[in-house]
């Protein structure tokens, strides 16, 4: 989109553009082992919904998960984000097994290290675009209005900073949501059907922006989608139906 490179004005505390030819480190940023998650059905029985023996993502890596309905994609993302506690297993992010953390510690960890993009954007209606982005870092590093503004300018929303979500187009709302997910300079960005509410053209544009921003901050990206066009843009694609198979020892990558 011809936008200026972000972070050029920033020092070490600002953007850290990943070097060209970046190669993932051998030690994974995210590693899931023996993850099990079940929930109670309306009839009272326990139903296992997630069983992942192993899944790993390297720092700065981009992974697309093909998530068909009912394959537990949102549950998996929630488990990675520490929003849902698994029944068993570990979710290690940057050396910290967040399953073993207290809830408050998980919240702090999430606020400092993770970004989350939702299918329905989940912007707060009472907050302006700029304030919504500020919220992205409010509970971790603290509000950073300058950086939030820089992100929105980078995404072409410099004239929409004070607009409420209801005053923005769908595409603009999505860009605000992307900016919010990056506002805390996360190590890992989780995106749950981030283009699901966009038309194909906007979807690809949003995806490109998301990947660009993640690369700019050096964040790994785990994206869940059922859109083949979106998935096709990723080198590493994993079919969640294969990954989340009870009893399977390892994830099976989808053959392209």
């Amino acid at each position: 989109m011809g936008a200026p490179a972000i972070g050029a004005r920033r020092g070490s505390a600002g953007w850290t553009r990943a070097p060209r030819g970046y190669a993932p480190r051998p030690v994974p940023l995210l590693e899931i082992q023996g993850l099990r998650k079940s929930h109670t059905s309306p009839d009272g029985s326990r139903q296992e919904i997630l069983a992942i023996d192993h899944f790993a993502v390297a720092a700065g890596e981009e992974v697309a998960l093909l998530g068909r309905s009912g394959t537990g994609k949102t549950t998996l993302l929630n488990a990675i984000a520490g929003l849902a506690v698994p029944d068993a297993g570990s979710v290690t992010i940057d050396g910290t097994d967040i399953v073993r953390l207290s809830e408050a510690a998980r919240d702090r960890f999430r606020a400092a290290n993770l970004g989350y993009v939702f299918q329905t954007f989940n912007l707060l209606q009472g907050f302006s675009a700029l304030e919504n982005v500020e919220l992205g870092s409010a509970f971790g590093r603290g509000r950073d209005r300058a950086f939030a503004r820089e992100l929105l300018v980078r995404l072409g929303l410099e004239t929409r900073l004070a607009h409420r979500p209801a005053q923005l187009s769908v595409g603009q709302q999505q860009r605000v949501a992307l900016a919010r997910a990056l506002a805390n300079r996360p190590r890992l960005v989780l995106a749950d059907e981030p283009t699901g509410n966009l038309d194909p053209e906007l979807a690809l544009e949003a995806l490109a922006l998301l990947r660009e921003l993640c690369r700019d901050v050096g964040a790994a990206l785990v994206l869940v989608s059922h859109d083949r066009d979106v998935l096709a843009r990723f080198e590493r694609r994993v079919d969640l139906a294969d990954l989340n198979r009870v009893g399977r020892a390892a994830a099976q990558e989808v053959a392209s």
Partner: protein, 416 residues
């Protein structure tokens, strides 16, 4: 800071309901402040230093006697002979005895016949004396002259040199007007006491007023123009007394109230007035209970206002949690929001109290001349704000628990 930011944003987002709830809290706080403080100030005004230790009057109710002669309310319980006034005035320990004779009015304001002792020797509120503006003068006791209180002058337009004719009786509705012109020689400087609502004329003038009948001897006597009124025929409605000591007052009270049968000594005046408040005690208690109930309603209105927003805010809470907000942060935000509403409402309540207090004080000064110190210190001033903070925090607990318990995954599902 993030917490305060969230609270400020929420208050702004729910501005209408927040403002209405604040208003409820303001009215509740204002009511509590008004009931507790104004009762205290009214008690102080009625039982404070009014310059009179005791009042001597006709046999009857001490409260009626004090209300009639000091506050110029209620009707006179009757008259006592002039000789009794003279006897009491000569009694050792009586430093000052000021006779009052009532029975006429002008434009509804009472006319009191008295002597110049009132102007020259009477003191109130730490030796303050009645005073006149430059160029004004006290009345000549042998002339048809009058000194009017500040409120009377303001409300009737009487000024120095004005002439008026007294009407018979103490009611404004009286249609019998005495055919005698009284000239105003002075307008009292405002005193903030019931004296502001009185017209003073020489007591001889009242004795000699056309149509007035004196019964000092028990026989009816009508003054004859140009002739002295014999003392034995004279009567007074009350005598204001200043005494040298409490003991003297107790001695006089025993002598007059227990041994005599024609007069009553209301002593001490402050105690008599305090009796009124004691008799009205249950009314005050009811008012206080109502005020406290309204405060509880204020707290419940905060709870209801926040509770009603909880459903629409569950998704908001879930989003904030997904962004890293802890449960405790959301809990604190709701309690803080509730506390902020109560606190801001309470601060507005002080303004409400100021408005109510000034209005009530204005009415009291206007109607009975009693001056309320609306902004004088009252313990309720210090109690209401912490009380509001506490109430606000308590009211926020239930919605805060609901916010605390918000399940993220459940509330972040896309709306279908």
């Amino acid at each position: 800071m993030t917490l305060l930011w969230l609270v400020a944003k929420s208050l702004r987002q729910h501005l209408f309901s927040s403002a209405i709830t604040m208003l409820v809290c303001a009215l509740a706080s204002g009511l509590v402040l008004s009931v507790f403080s104004l009762e205290r100030q009214a008690r102080a005004a009625f039982t404070g230093d009014i310059g009179v230790d005791a009042v001597l009057g006709a046999r009857g109710s001490q409260i009626q006697l004090v209300l009639n002669s000091v506050f110029h309310l209620d009707t006179s319980p009757g008259n006592i002979p002039w000789s009794l006034y003279q006897d009491v005035a000569r009694t050792p320990g009586v430093e000052l005895a000021i006779p009052y004779a009532v029975g006429d009015n002008y434009a509804g304001y009472r006319i009191v016949g008295t002597t110049n002792d009132l102007f020259e020797r009477f003191t109130f509120r730490a030796d303050q004396r009645l005073s006149l503006p430059a160029g004004h003068a006290w009345f000549d006791p042998l002339r048809a002259e009058a000194v009017v209180g500040a409120t009377v002058a303001r409300r009737t337009g009487r000024r120095r040199g004005s002439v008026f004719q007294p009407a018979h009786g103490v009611s404004r509705d009286s249609t019998v007007v005495h055919d005698v012109d009284y000239v105003v020689t002075g307008v009292l400087e405002p005193t903030g006491t019931p004296l502001d609502r009185v017209i003073f004329i020489p007591i001889e003038g009242l004795f000699r007023m056309e149509g007035h009948v004196l019964r000092g001897t028990g026989e009816e006597f009508t003054a004859v123009p140009g002739e002295l009124v014999p003392d034995e025929h004279k009567e007074v409605s009350a005598v204001l007394l200043k005494l040298s000591s409490q003991q003297r007052g107790l001695f006089l009270a025993r002598e007059i109230n227990e041994q005599g049968d024609i007069a009553t000594l209301a002593f001490p005046v402050a105690r008599v007035m305090a009796e009124i408040f004691e008799k009205l005690g249950y009314v005050v208690l009811v008012l206080q209970a109502v005020a406290q109930l309204v405060v509880v309603i204020g707290g419940l209105s905060i709870l209801a206002a926040l509770w009603n927003t909880m459903n629409e805010r569950r998704r908001e809470f879930a989003i904030l949690r997904a962004l890293g907000a802890r449960r405790a942060t959301l809990f604190a935000a709701i309690v803080l929001e509730s506390t902020a509403i109560a606190t801001l409402g309470c601060l507005l309540g002080y303004l409400v109290y100021g408005a109510v207090g000034l209005a009530v004080a204005g009415i009291l000064v206007d109607r009975i001349g009693v001056h309320l110190e609306v902004f004088a210190w009252s313990p309720v001033f210090a109690a209401v704000l912490p009380g509001a903070v506490l109430l606000g925090a308590l009211a926020g607990l239930v919605p805060a628990v609901r916010a605390y318990a918000t399940e993220v995954a459940q509330n972040l599902r896309p709306a279908s």
